[in-house]
Symmetry: D2
Amino acid sequence: MAKSRMAPGEEDLAPRYRDVRALSEALAAGLSDADATVQSMADASPAKWHLAHSSWFFETFVLRDHAADYQPFDPRFAYLFNSYYEGEGPRHARPLRGLLTRPSLDDILRYRAHVDAALLAALPDMGAQAQTLVALGLHHEQQHQELLLTDIQHLFSINPLEPALFDAPNDMPAALPGPIHWIEGRQGLVEIGDDGRTDFAFDCEGPRHKALLHPHALAHRPVTNAEWISFIDDGGYRDPAHWLSDGWAWVQAEGIEAPLYWRHEPQGWTRFGLDGRKPVNPAAPVCHISLYEADAYARWAGARLPTEEEWESGAQNVAPISGNQLDGPTCPRPQATDGGAALTRMFGDVWEWTGSAYRPYPGFQADEGAVGEYNGKFMSGQFVLKGGSCATPRGHVRASYRNFFYPHQRWQFTGLRLAKDL
Amino acid sequence: MAKSRMAPGEEDLAPRYRDVRALSEALAAGLSDADATVQSMADASPAKWHLAHSSWFFETFVLRDHAADYQPFDPRFAYLFNSYYEGEGPRHARPLRGLLTRPSLDDILRYRAHVDAALLAALPDMGAQAQTLVALGLHHEQQHQELLLTDIQHLFSINPLEPALFDAPNDMPAALPGPIHWIEGRQGLVEIGDDGRTDFAFDCEGPRHKALLHPHALAHRPVTNAEWISFIDDGGYRDPAHWLSDGWAWVQAEGIEAPLYWRHEPQGWTRFGLDGRKPVNPAAPVCHISLYEADAYARWAGARLPTEEEWESGAQNVAPISGNQLDGPTCPRPQATDGGAALTRMFGDVWEWTGSAYRPYPGFQADEGAVGEYNGKFMSGQFVLKGGSCATPRGHVRASYRNFFYPHQRWQFTGLRLAKDL
Amino acid sequence: MAKSRMAPGEEDLAPRYRDVRALSEALAAGLSDADATVQSMADASPAKWHLAHSSWFFETFVLRDHAADYQPFDPRFAYLFNSYYEGEGPRHARPLRGLLTRPSLDDILRYRAHVDAALLAALPDMGAQAQTLVALGLHHEQQHQELLLTDIQHLFSINPLEPALFDAPNDMPAALPGPIHWIEGRQGLVEIGDDGRTDFAFDCEGPRHKALLHPHALAHRPVTNAEWISFIDDGGYRDPAHWLSDGWAWVQAEGIEAPLYWRHEPQGWTRFGLDGRKPVNPAAPVCHISLYEADAYARWAGARLPTEEEWESGAQNVAPISGNQLDGPTCPRPQATDGGAALTRMFGDVWEWTGSAYRPYPGFQADEGAVGEYNGKFMSGQFVLKGGSCATPRGHVRASYRNFFYPHQRWQFTGLRLAKDL
Amino acid sequence: MAKSRMAPGEEDLAPRYRDVRALSEALAAGLSDADATVQSMADASPAKWHLAHSSWFFETFVLRDHAADYQPFDPRFAYLFNSYYEGEGPRHARPLRGLLTRPSLDDILRYRAHVDAALLAALPDMGAQAQTLVALGLHHEQQHQELLLTDIQHLFSINPLEPALFDAPNDMPAALPGPIHWIEGRQGLVEIGDDGRTDFAFDCEGPRHKALLHPHALAHRPVTNAEWISFIDDGGYRDPAHWLSDGWAWVQAEGIEAPLYWRHEPQGWTRFGLDGRKPVNPAAPVCHISLYEADAYARWAGARLPTEEEWESGAQNVAPISGNQLDGPTCPRPQATDGGAALTRMFGDVWEWTGSAYRPYPGFQADEGAVGEYNGKFMSGQFVLKGGSCATPRGHVRASYRNFFYPHQRWQFTGLRLAKDL
């Protein structure tokens, strides 16, 4: 039985299943067959692949074992749409995903309908173990919803025509948020990790355990674009003293001078987003930065990145719906001029880089079987991000959620919040 | 005035224009938007790109200068669909062609219709220079018709589903052609190059000039798959003594063991083609081999490759419609059991590698202006191929035609005919 | 004033300076001019470079500022022998170090003598800050002594002649150590980091801070070659279930089947060392493994790697001279059949991989100035190793010492000790 | 019997053997053990390797088969010092040659003495076939003498200290040669290739055969540095119209702006040579250019490169000792202000790029056995150079000599002479 956990209230899964699956298709509604096929870089996957792979997950881990007489839509899809589950046999090489012009987007939508019909028919008779796998599959699909958006944004960004997936007006002028207020965090022993009170948690969020916090404070809000432009203008990208050694090598090798998707034009900085190319909004949180950039900025600012324990402890009393999540074409949106009396925008807006390497929590045990390849095997070389972004589906994120990426990656909606020692 | 030449009989270009343009669209009729968008390797281009670039050629070199008040369909296309004409300004990088999911295939078909309408309207009033450029553009488009097919074949070949562009039955059993007969060629001084009697010739085919032929003979037919299998079975791919040094390095680095698209299966060799995966037909000419393989085979067989002068001299009395050209889904087709009294299958079937490097003919001068970048600038590192293939449009090839590719390339319909010294 | 710390007892530095500097030259005594010049891979440096760079350190950080009228031996050496100190200006690219056939090894020995004379002359008049920098330079040089040995071993290993730097008999037959005994560690809050009681500590070892340990035990000894061969024989290198995702990709891409320097021969496994190629000694600790291999082995064995806090806490009561350090040509040596009542061989023999990413301790501040680039800027992507090896100079290691390498690197003397949750 | 040919007058080989072998060692006399060991790029080889490989040639092709009871100096050298003779079994990979710090330079000199003693002892009793192989080995060694110099020059050039192998004063001021005079060449059928009247010829120089020359003229002298600077100043490296397509890609990818070893300094252009860094001498032939550069210059100048047949025909009446060959440290030297009535400096000074791809002469047959791998297998992708250079040993070059390199290579002493159609 998988340790990824589902709470009792979640037991009638059918409506939630329908909602999540429908959202994936809604997000892809503006895509052509070609848009959904192409892979713009090895880190990204085609939209069609996201739509198919999330269905393969249900087919492989639920229907195959828990739905009597299930007939696969096409037996060749097991090879085409396995992502990285070694336990499930060989698979199509990741960098070649974008060469699969067949099956078509329409074929994949038929594949989804086939899986949906079978799963919804089987669901009433499923036991708890199978239902837990369905819940896992839905959270898995939500992750791919965010990836579908980040990957399409990347694909469109390298098209000289710079198409937009969504229409949106330019941001309204917004007052700049005031200066950072430092919110003192708890000290000493705190409890961290999945507390069993949310509807669901991945295996890597547990077990619940004690952690020791040293005296520290967190900024009440993320760093803004206006602040980032000050870093650029101060030569932040050209002074090695701010940078981790690997980060400086990356800056030099890639010629990095600004966040991903930014361009310096005569009238000022612009950025590319799902709504096309627009002026950089000074009041919005900075987005599409690597861990290296986040760390360099923090050092330049005389601060540091929070640890994941500091961040999670601080977030435990903040409602996870407090920020902008997947609810509009502009992403991220300008910040209000929050008062600064408490931590704001911990959830949504931008994934916040922490200074913590993604490693197992004390006592961590991966789920058993192929599903157990889900999180544990990625625990080297990556850093933890917290809090979700403006592209994270509502209901998906929580304080104990641990996202992880390599320190040079920045096509996700990544930003930062400063921390300091007290 | 371009030196690429058009004969007087060609003067009423409109019907020919309509036919050539229609054929491009017919060849692409079986492609989805995604099929037409993806680029399977740097050497290949998307079908959509071929359809657009051949239209860009007319727009740039004919309509812009020779059609009053011509309005470009989309001014951004000049950047997107220039191939390599430095004189026409910057262009989209070749390896990124497959990332352009927009404009869509439908957009490109509209672009073609726009160009066609403008060109056909302007054609009656065009002078000789402009008409010559139109003729050049049609021959250019025919080249891209063949490339469209070879590029789609490559794309489909790396899809594990191995889709077919055309339906076709398996080849009928065919009698193996008999042994090679050696046809003695002319000796001494011969005339080579564009003789002004064909409807059209590219600049690199001229000027007509004398060449000196040493005593030699050509095989009356190309090498067959059956003969190639003997080469494989004799360890031809494992013995460095047969290979050019660069070729042996290529065999080792790439793990080459058979022609491109061949696979060894329990029941024997199969090959992938535009009609899907089928058994290798022993009676058909071997196809999809590199110059390195052709040269190694010839050495193994105690022969050599013909020079381009030997080949062209031999072909001067052979009708260019004698072989299989673009007229059916199976490509190449089995060879008849020709008698062997004369050179057969010089045209069509497979492009025949010669042992001649692609260098300028004595007295060669490139066309002037950007059109002059068409042929001359490729004259290093490539070898000449002669005779056209089963994917070459009818009416496109002639004895003086000089095709050229790098010695490791083999996704074209490439084969060989042996030669020897007398 | 640098935070790298030196204790009062260390104040008469001259004899220690002479000893350390002499050892470097003794280690290089068996090298030819060519041996000392060549760089066998980008991770390694030439022996000549190690001898010069450790002198450059004294010249740049001590003599330039703290010795009146010091004349550099050759002003061009500042460019040639800077390793990575961005604050000290441009430097010769690391992968090109092995192309510097001039200056010769003899030139470098003269350079060392020049620096030594100046430093020993200036030492009596130096203040505490300069003396601390001298002490730092000596510990820095000891690090390069170990690197000199690992780099020469790598260079000699890829020479088909497989020369030995040192002569040594084959290991005497040794009884295999008995099974692992699990030594329970402290729980709850412990103190970690530089405690100010050793003669010296690097900046990254501090500040002293509290850490929280969860119930755990450590193996009383490192994993042996005999145990590692069981892992190999059980298919450990071929089963992705044991491996981190990055580790499995590395195994596949590099074709890894055994520790570095091992070779399977008809009579069994051999390994290459500074004493040439010899049979693998089953009783010796396994050596030259990556973090990926260590982690896979631990998972296969039903255990895990220790955290650096667990390891350091366990080592705090073990004398740092308990194992084999730089004192003989065979490295590492067979283990005695220790009783198992306590942690043994924590120091020397092999650097032990921990499961902890190399990140700053709470409250860490780097040294100021260019010297401060010494440790902090490497805090991404690397893992901590503890305890020193058979190539670590005596007097160099201590419980708080934090060594760090990337998870794929294994040309250092790296091994592992198992841990488990209680 | 090898077809590489030796004339009767050459039969007493002993004095010539001694001279050639001694020159190799004299050229290497200024090298340290490290200088002789390091390989600066994959195209180059270590000096030690050249000294050893040329000895291996005698050991393998002469002593092994033609000297009774010959004992190899070290049987492992057969693996280490085979260059590319597949017929002689596996060999050490070319890019790893520079990692062999053992055997030392002294070891190699002992190896040479061992081979010399055995060969000189056996020579009196050798038959014609063996003597022909000795003559071939001497010409082979002369080729490696030139390569030894070009490879050391490259190695020293990338050392920031820029050491000189030879001392030499700056060039004396020299009058610029006057403008080019065009010397009309023969037309119609001429005889080309080894005529049997020189002491020796490689297999690829034959057979003697007729070639057809079209009306043309050659410049009476090579292009000078002064003329090349005009090309640079006219933007020659920045205008794609002058360049072959592959050449332009190379210019862009490598950032080429001038010949190899040139540097623009405040006082003007300098170049690095075996005599160190010196000002570019305007009167000297331009040197260290690629075929791409030569071809671009010729097009810019309204001319073209000569074919190898034109060049050889023109050279047939010029004495091969007319130019500067290996006889001084400055290479190449300024040109005299030759009158222009005849072809001058055809031999020596710089290897002259031709526009001819290196392909077999009509009727070419390679030597049999492993020796036959000497020339024929390189006949793809390379261009022919003629005439020898200032680093070619006296007595080595002749009109029929065919040197060959890839079009991007320029670390040899390569220049050009213009040709044009008449």
